[in-house]
Symmetry: C2
């Protein structure tokens, strides 16, 4: 006697559980889980994802033994609910839905009311006591089924959309409504619907040449096949490519007894969150509609009632009875379920329920989405309640969500009421409201007077920095996520929208046109920098101060004691450093000294230096800059109160300090009292084909050692002036150890000179290190470590050179690369851990081997990206450095990284 292993293709809800997601899909596994908890789930069963795979392997046919297992499972459903599928007297209707491992909302097919046919219609009328309801259900079944099963799954593609079966059926209904003078679908009577169903079936015969099946099982098999087939539909494939879901996974099919919330005043349907998803308040939160189906809640044509008093919205539904008031026992039952689900899942749940003739049915539970504030509060509350441990609490908050707590936000209700003026790229998060100003100088003047302004420019350049700083927000017509405006604004945590191409900015007329309107300079606008939306007028803004949020504070305390990585900030000005320190930065990881050369009159001295013909001329101009730069550093050291500051020496190519346009050159010539031709010649001589790879970074300091000497003097004298100051001098763009050795020699010579001048005064703590941002630097990190006390990875440039992508130009192909899946994410946002990350890994290994106490950090923009921070933790860096407003995010991400390696 031999036994054959039989594949189990079908699981009733009582056989499955939440851990069987891969086999049963998310929906099926959770329905089974709820069943297992003893919750009132309409009975049903799941056909596995493996059956889908077998379906495709089998050329689009179900394996033979599936049918038998489905019939068996159906019997169990019938027994459970006490109605029978296809039974004219006591009919059972069922729904057939998809359910993949990961939710793919709306991407696959659903067929409802399966089992309704000529013989069961009378039984259903008797059961529901509502003839109109039954014919309306029948009409819906015919519409869905003919569309999904008879047309799409059969591979019939009509020449144009109007020729498809569904629009043709809809035309019939429209014609009937017109003929009878009805306005709404609900005006149709039972008689109307009955005759419409006849008309539908005739039209289907005409269009598809087939009969709508008048047999419950034929309906069922058709529906199951159609859902399986829809896994390979165009929409589903496109969605999977975007989301990176493998095509091999397949979908499960859930077959479940239909329950109806639209059977009269003792029926209802609703959705709820086990806690308030907007604030995290631990009140049960939701809404419901009497005598309605789930789709009616979503459609928004009726104002839903509140679940309880807590969730009543003043002026919206506070006059409508809550479920607690209307059906107190049902509400109590629902609260019990809510408590059971939270205790079971140990997380906030998003649930759907239906009440049919006063009987409560649970249709779905899943993890509830929540905003940043709510995520933080729920995590801390649940930790307090003993529901979760610290590790889980930390992992509950997506670090990026903290952004919401750190920036002022436009009032979302006001946003909902206001029509948008234009949309651009969300370059700096938060909300900002102010008067339009088109000129940086004017923005600065008005800003000083305390006026709120929004700087609106076609694009910005380093000369606009002061005006940008004075403005509440920045709006540009051109530029991408890495344009000047975007980079600077993100650094400051300032609200910014760039690349808003719909704007027509006229500097001469001083107007901004968009959406057919013409705004003048001085008119108010409001920006939602988190979403990239521009509004006309002055919207209310809610300020942010996370430190007053006790849940946030507690979360940060836990994060800080969990993380291993240090967190520093990228800050060029004392005020930015102060913000970062408030947010928890433990020092400065990148202070870009060149930004100090743009402020006020400094640019004049800088330009004098650039124009100088010889070393003497340059030295004279540098002497003007020395006291200014020294006082900048003094202010920064004071703010840091003994925390270290990594100061990067001059990095950008010199052409960035001179105007490229004729008018600017003319202005510069007048300001400096030189011939414009001389300026033009200098600007031309500074032109480079690939400035990224040109005369910049330490290459400047090597050809003009006097620049390095001046900067070294400024840093060291400032460190002498502030007790406890810790300066880390960072030489940029080092690719060869001898470059570093050359620059280090200059710095050390200056240090010796100053020591002699200071005559025995205790010398400050000065370290000398380098950025690792040139691939050669990473590859030869062992050699470089022999001269460096620290490395800071400049992952922006390392990505540019490592991948060969110019940030300024990559827009032309990089988005396509991400769409095609060549890179999973934009490597400038999330570190390319395989390629650029490998360079980092090599440098860490070689660097530490050559100098075990080498301090390692990262100051590229990846320092504020949670996924990249995880990489930096695991590769063994000592700290990450990011813009001030991302410091809290980095603290949490660093804690999560530490947990992930436990």
């Amino acid at each position: 006697m031999s036994t054959t292993a039989i594949t189990k293709w079908v699981y009733t809800f009582s056989e499955g559980n939440a851990r069987m997601v891969n086999l049963l899909g998310g929906k099926g596994a959770n329905l089974a889980e709820m069943s297992g908890l003893g919750l009132p789930v309409p009975p049903g069963f799941t056909i596995t994802t493996e059956a889908n795979t077998a379906y495709f392997e089998n050329g689009g046919r179900l394996p033979d033994d599936v049918a038998e297992q489905v019939r068996e499972a159906m019997k169990s459903v019938e027994k459970n609910i006490g109605r029978n599928f296809g039974d004219p007297d006591n009919p059972l209707l069922i729904s057939v839905r998809s359910g993949a491992r990961k939710s793919m909302p709306g991407m696959m097919e659903t067929v409802l009311n399966v089992g309704l046919y000529t013989s069961t219609i009378p039984g259903m009328i008797k059961q529901s006591g509502d003839e109109r309801f039954v014919y309306d259900s029948y009409r819906r079944l015919i519409t869905m089924y003919s569309d999904v099963v008879m047309e799409k799954a059969a591979g019939i593609t009509p020449k144009d959309e109007e020729m498809a079966v569904r629009p043709q059926l809809e035309k019939l209904m429209d014609a009937m409504k017109k003929e009878r003078g009805y306005k709404l679908d609900t005006d149709l009577t039972a008689e109307d619907l009955k005759s419409l169903c006849e008309g539908y079936r005739a039209k289907i015969r005409e269009v598809l040449g087939k009969e709508f099946p008048d047999d419950p099982w034929e309906q069922l098999w058709g529906a199951i096949g159609a859902v399986f087939q829809s896994w390979r539909g165009k929409r589903a494939i496109a969605y999977r490519q975007l989301e990176g879901i493998p095509g091999e996974w397949g979908t499960a099919v859930n077959v479940q007894a239909m329950v109806f919330g639209n059977l009269g005043e003792d029926s209802a349907t609703g959705v709820a969150f086990t806690r308030d998803p907007a604030t995290g308040d631990p009140h049960f939160y939701g809404e419901w509609l009497v005598n309605a189906q789930g789709e009616d809640v979503v459609a928004g044509t009726r104002t839903p009632n509140a679940l309880n008093n807590y969730c009543k919205q003043p002026g919206q539904n506070d006059m409508l009875p809550s479920l607690e008031e209307a059906m107190p026992e049902i509400y109590k039952q629902l609260v019990d379920i809510r408590n059971k689900l939270e205790a079971h899942y140990k997380n906030m749940q998003d649930i759907e329920f239906t009440i049919g003739h006063h009987r409560l049915w649970m249709l779905q539970t899943r993890e509830g989405k929540r905003n940043g504030m709510a995520a933080v509060r729920m995590a801390m509350d649940m930790l307090d309640e003993g529901m979760i441990d610290e590790k889980t609490a930390l992992e509950r908050v997506n670090p990026d969500q903290l952004d919401e707590l750190l920036h002022p936000m436009l009032d979302p209700m006001a946003e909902r009421r206001t029509t948008k003026l234009a949309k651009g790229l969300a370059a700096g998060p938060g909300g900002a409201v102010g008067k339009i100003v088109l000129n940086s100088k004017r923005a600065q003047e008005l800003g000083k007077k305390g006026e709120k302004v929004i700087l609106v420019r076609i694009e910005t350049s380093p000369e606009d920095v002061d005006g940008m700083h004075a403005a509440e927000g920045i709006l540009t017509a051109r530029g991408g996520m890495t344009s000047h405006a975007a980079l600077v604004a993100r650094g400051w945590g300032k609200c910014c929208i760039v690349g808003c191409g719909e704007l027509d900015i006229d500097y001469r007329d001083r107007t901004v046109k968009a959406a057919g309107k013409t705004l003048k300079e001085g008119d108010w606008i409001s920006l939602n920098g988190t979403k990239g939306i521009v509004y006309e007028g002055q919207l209310p803004v809610a300020a942010a101060d996370p430190s007053i949020n006790k849940w946030y504070t507690k979360l940060m305390v836990i994060a800080d004691r969990t993380r291993r990585l240090g967190i520093r900030t990228n800050a060029d000005r004392p005020e930015d450093a102060a913000v970062a320190v408030k947010f928890g930065a433990e020092g400065i990881g990148l202070c870009r000294t060149e930004h100090m050369f743009f402020e006020g009159d400094r640019i004049v001295s800088m330009r004098k230096m650039i124009l100088a013909d010889d070393e003497e001329g340059r030295k004279k101009a540098l002497e003007e800059l020395l006291p200014l730069q020294r006082s900048d550093f003094i202010e920064i050291f004071k703010v840091l109160e003994g925390r270290p500051a990594t100061i990067r020496f001059l990095d950008p190519p010199l052409h960035e300090f001179v105007p490229q346009d004729e008018a600017g050159q003319q202005e510069m010539a007048e300001a400096m009292g030189v011939d414009p031709e001389r300026i033009r010649e200098k600007v031309n001589s500074l032109h480079e084909s690939n400035p990224m790879l040109g005369h910049r970074g330490c290459r400047l300091g090597i050809t003009y050692p006097e620049i390095t000497a001046m900067q070294a003097r400024a840093v060291i004298e400032a460190a002498y002036a502030v007790e406890g100051a810790k300066a880390e001098i960072m030489i940029p763009l080092v690719g060869h150890v001898k470059e570093l050795a050359n620059q280090k020699r200059i710095v050390l010579d200056v240090f010796e000179q100053i020591k002699a001048e200071k005559n025995g005064q205790p010398a400050p703590d000065i370290k000398i290190g380098t950025m690792i941002e040139v691939p050669r630097g990473a590859i030869t990190a062992d050699e470089i470590a022999s001269e460096a006390e620290f490395f800071s990875f400049g992952t922006n440039d390392l990505t540019q050179m490592g991948c060969g992508f110019s940030r300024d130009d990559a827009g032309k192909f990089l988005s396509e690369y991400v769409t095609l899946g060549i890179y999973e994410k934009d490597p400038f946002q999330t570190l390319d851990s395989t390629g650029v990350g490998e360079l980092v890994r090599i440098a860490v290994e070689k660097g530490r081997k050559a100098r075990p106490d080498l301090k390692l950090g990262i100051c590229g923009e990846h320092g504020g990206d949670p996924k990249s921070i995880d990489f930096f933790h695991h590769v063994g860096l000592d700290y990450v450095s990011c813009s001030p407003f991302r410091v809290p995010i980095a603290r949490l991400a660093a804690a999560q990284a530490a947990l992930s390696s436990q």
Copy 2:
């Protein structure tokens, strides 16, 4: 009883030998070696380089025991030559010279005639029988000694040069000559010189406040100290920095008995090469002067006699008696020495000799410099003579010297007679003569008619390629060694001079001005592209055809059987491929397909494609290019006769195919019948900040897959058309395996289509691989190898991205980097083996690990650089690819690399 190890500071010539170069310096070791061979070397001794080190450690004083060892050695010299140092009756004069490990010509000090003082002057007069000679020698000693020992070595630095002692002494002599009405130094009588010496000594007293020492030993110690001191002189330090000679080495001092060739008609001096250094002919070759010192031969004031009949120069010295004729016994003795030296050193020697009163003295022997032809012939002759083995023969020729054999050369005698018009950068070697043409189209027309033209342009662009090809040589006023003109010319092995800033080219007047002359279009000029010199007029040219040189042919046979590396060529046209095959190329390693898009009308189709708004438009334009490109490949496959060709798909950014200037855009608009505004817009939209890192390489093929498909079709159809064709399709600029996978898919799809179209015809051999030129590509080579059948390292771009150097811009700092020693060599000429080389090494290792049969080559310009080839051999590549004219160089360099690892 205890013994103390005594340091030996002094070696007589009979104690040393040639292997003791580090201790005795090159000069001392070779003098000792000659002594050891029994050759007539004036006796002497060497104070070691260690003594120099000790001298500096000792604060500029000789170690105590040196003096004693010098006195001992002096005794042995005295005994050997039979004269005594300081002895009034039988005086010995000596020379004191430097001698480092490596020759540092003229960088350190020498003092001659040491030992001449009041008491020995009469003895010397008696010995030489020539009072005037003795006082002249005394005058020279005083001049040298006061300058070198009493002033420089004493650290006295006069305020200006005129205040130094030497010019003041020379003034005295000038005054005496003026007073007595003499024209030449030789007019001075013995009496004059005697009184001049008195005057000199008085002047020294006045200027330096010290007496000129009238004691032989004091003279000697002073001279030895001065030579040691001169190791740290300014000139010596600067020279060592340039040549990379370590400062720790120190110099030795050679003290040697003076011999004089200017004692009368039985005395003489000469220099000789043991074989002809210009041709390699095995005749003894040299020249001599009767009654003269070595400096007289060098000075060139007297025409030297030939050594023998072989070296008589018609019209120069063929009327003067040769040494063989004038002193047959001496000549015979010299021939014996020549034979002995060659047999001993097994190499051609450069010797100096002096004949004093009919006695022959050997003053120096060293390896003789030789030109390329001579190096090849000598190596092969010596191999035939059994003097050296194959390994040595191969190593005797510097691969770069082969260049001289491969290009036509201007007649050097004619060059010597002609004054140069201008000097630029030597961008393409060889000589070229032709009429000036300022316009590429005209150059092409005249070239077709068989006229010899030189294309003279301010700079060239891809549109000039046809004219450049038609010209004999190319001359540009602007651009560096990596400008368009230089790159293209080198690829063709064409004579080219770039960056010739002295030229004033006027396209409107059709003139070229230089050196105060105005040449018109049509005037003749001649270029020496090896040296970068431009001449007016039509100089004679000697054509090159190395294959007729039997020694060259033999050398290549030996090289080919010695090397492991394959040698391919970078060639874009059939005619270039043909040249390379003639030079021994075993296939094409890089065929740049974009060059095919510039020729003739093709640029129009290319521009149509660029201007197209959609895929359809692009496909239409590509269809025009398909047959042209296919026929190019057919021609190339034919020339290769079954050798493989690696074909790189479109690489440069599209903006290179459209004119950047307004006039060009206007022309393009007219030619294509479109609005110039549209062209302008397109050109602007193609502009990139860093085109090197922009939308190019496979990024083009990914965003415009139709380009890849067209190129694949052209290659594969061409391969079908030529029997035995082997095509290797190379995808450029791959940094991520998915980029390659994407492009490979397109190529394979096209291949499948063509296979179907060809209906069973046997498919050609098509391989698909990639360039490794992006650092990320090297780092992730294991992933990329999973999709690639071969890698070819694009070391130009790998250097640009790996080091972060834009070739176009690096001129501003890279030469300074080489001067400062940050990079030893320009990394674009010789591979930076530590950094970029490490990326290559990683990629080789990872690539081979993932795919053991991965074929590895290199097609950057380093493929023709001998030092880089050595690296590529050792890192394990399969082949190098270089421009056609460097193929022989690469063959030899590859053989030498193979030998160096034995």
